[in-house]
Amino acid sequence: MLPELGQVTLILALLVSLLQAILPLAGAHRGKAAWMAVARPAAYGQLFLLLAAFVVLTVAFVTQDFSVKYVAENSNSLLPMMYRYSAVWGAHEGSLLLWVLVLGIWTAAVAEFSRHLPETVVARVLGVMGVVSVGFLAFLIFTSNPFARLLPAPLEGRDLNPLLQDPGLIIHPPMLYTGYVGFVVPFAFAIAALLDGHIDARWLRWTRPWTNVAWAFLTLGIALGSWWAYYELGWGGWWFWDPVENASFMPWLAGAALLHSQAVTEKRGSFGGWTLLLAIATFSLSLLGTFLVRSGVLTSVHAFAADPSRGLFILIFLGAVVGGSLVLYVLRAPRIAGGAFVASSRETLLLANNVLLAAACGMVLLGTLYPLLADALELGKISVGPPYFGLLFVVLMTPLVMLLPFGPLTKWQKDQPRKPFAMLVPWLVAALVLGGIAYFMAPQGPLKTAAGVAAGAWVALGTLRFVWTRLRANGKFTPEMLGMVLAHFGIAVFLIGALLVEAQNVQRELAMKPGQTIELGGYGFRFEGVEETRGPNYVSDLGHVQVLRGDKPLMRLNPEKRAYASGGQVMTEAGIRPSLFGDVYVALGEHLGDGAWAVRVHIKPFVRWIWLGALLMALGAFVTATDRRFRRKPEAPKPEAQPA
């Protein structure tokens, strides 16, 4: 009974979103206030209905209603309670419902926090968001119904994929979707501006906090995914340039470019057309990512189960939304002359920032789709992996990292190059010196270590120089400035972590019998044997490894190999001793007979700095979003740009 109710709420939500899409957009076009006024109530109504549907699905999981096909495929009577909740988004149908719910939350938030904007703008923005809702709800109802029944109901469900039975995986999708989906707001605004025929800096000021918040959540989501892969997959890697990872990274790169471009347009009026295009591109990349992950077009252990009919549906929707936006853009893109500026100015630096980020995004897209392209052009089956992406990404980001500290210290419009140079050169030298010291102190990988230290120090010191300049000037930091400082520090921290862990990590794998000890990286590891234990829905070989520093016992680690009752799938759980300056990481390999086991030991210096850096970046973006200036009531309209 309840699942049918869930289905009904979805259908109602589709109808409401149709109203939300059609009436306000038509109303804004015709100037009918009554139609435009439908937008807000429709948004709230949709959220209510989607929440109801989500709760119904959750109840089905918690009560283990195996007559619902999706529950039967992703749950099991032994599944611990905690994972029954996260199983709701464990596979395609449920995660799509989460996607749509998150969209509903963003829509309602926009409806709530836009009271100071003209009705036509609100109507258009909510209308566009309604169009997206219609597409996804239709997709959900017609091809991916989470409430479809499986009758007669099986006695036992298949089980949630054991890879997903983990706390990290509980929050990773919601964070990721909040980010992904959140880019619909700048997108909707961009479309609204194009439909309106005007672009005004004050509207841009309004979108900036939304874009920042979305990007912050996406940063957190990606960082969580990376951290999860590190501790769950058992080989100590934190990023693989897997197609599904890339699918989330492309909107991140475009979003980062968008954040910066919006700043320029909002403050100086320049590049309005480019900012609009970027807003369209960023959300298009979110849609592309959603498509890639669910259509089976790409090979990844991370992808959802493939189904060509679903792939086709999303592709058509993607084509319609993106194609329509691009057509609208070409027809209506305003050409604002904007303020004048010279080569030596912050405008130019931010243009360079955008070019490099856009090129990086393009590179990731190219590399991800190249195997498919090669297949289509009959060039054979090729692979594009970390050696390609890693190399080109570093090459493209190096100029960006070098230019970064100059941005905040260079004035808008025109500055004398020698001034920011003079401020920064001492710190560049300091960074190089630190790099040099690191080069000679590094036990291995001296070049990468030196590069990591120098780059991180350069960005950190350069940002500090800005802080100092500001303190000396008037000591006032807007939240926007504070956010920028935090985010740029985050980049410095990330650079150090990423480069140092690649350069300094050591690992060893060998057969060990109980009582044996090996040394690695200044630590001793005494293998004490493996015992059989049980978990709620698995049997585990629990390893005991004593970590020693010299001769003193430090702590005991428990790597595991779990065999899940539902399908016999074997998961490795690493035993990790986390620390700010380096992780100690132990994983169990195969049982070699006679009590001997293959044991893999890693030392991973500074690996936590990677996620710490990401955390700082997200925090910076959140802080920027709190800036009151963005929420100030817009002043009287100034002369606006006309469409081309």
Partner: protein, 197 residues
């Protein structure tokens, strides 16, 4: 914030905009086309099979014992002179059981020499498997450690090769063989190979 540009500037920027629009348009259409192709391909059962780089090249040199009589060894020279179909299987491979009836039917037609390649199997298990399900093979060579399989580019089972009389690999199929595949791919390739002698 907005200064109307003068006319020549406007024309130049209009030209630039049209150029940009064309580029963006082409890129978008190309991307959609590529993704549509990808969706179509994803429905194919065999999309993850690796095409073999050995096609058109000589079969790798091998020297392996017979499963039924480990004292006897078979190498390329022993099989030269006429085409043969080689099927890679193992008692541990569920798909091999699925394709077995198809292979048995094909072997009974005695159209071509049909060799079995027992991959990474325990001898007793392999023999028991053949006893239980029937032995369609003219002979079975055993590769217990899988070293020779690497030279063939074998990465699992079932896989099936067609090698012609001159020892050139003509055709490979990854995954279970069906009647359609035999009729539409194997037999035509075999006829071509025989015609070229």
């Amino acid at each position: 914030m907005n200064t109307p540009s003068d006319t020549p500037g406007q024309n130049k920027s209009r030209g630039a905009l049209v150029f940009a629009a064309v580029i963006i348009g082409l890129f978008f259409v190309g991307l959609m086309g590529l993704l549509a192709y990808g969706v179509k391909q994803s429905g194919r059962a065999n999309r993850e099979a690796l095409p073999s780089p050995l096609i058109g090249k000589s079969a790798p040199a091998f020297d392996l014992p017979l499963l039924h009589d480990p004292a006897t060894r078979i190498d390329n020279a022993d099989l030269a002179g006429a085409p043969y179909v080689m099927n890679v299987w193992g008692s541990w491979c569920p798909e091999c059981r699925v394709e077995h009836p198809v292979l048995t039917k094909f072997a009974l037609t005695k159209r071509v020499r049909f060799i079995g390649y027992n991959l990474k199997d325990e001898r007793g298990e392999a023999l028991r498997w053949l006893e239980q399900f029937g032995n369609p093979y003219m002979l079975v060579i055993a590769d217990e450690d899988g070293r020779a399989a690497i030279d063939w580019g074998i990465y699992g089972a079932p896989e099936t090769f067609l090698v012609d009389g001159k020892g050139i690999v003509r055709w490979k199929h990854v995954g279970a063989v069906t009647d359609e595949i035999i009729a539409n791919e194997l037999l035509p390739a075999l006829e071509k190979a025989e015609a070229q002698r």
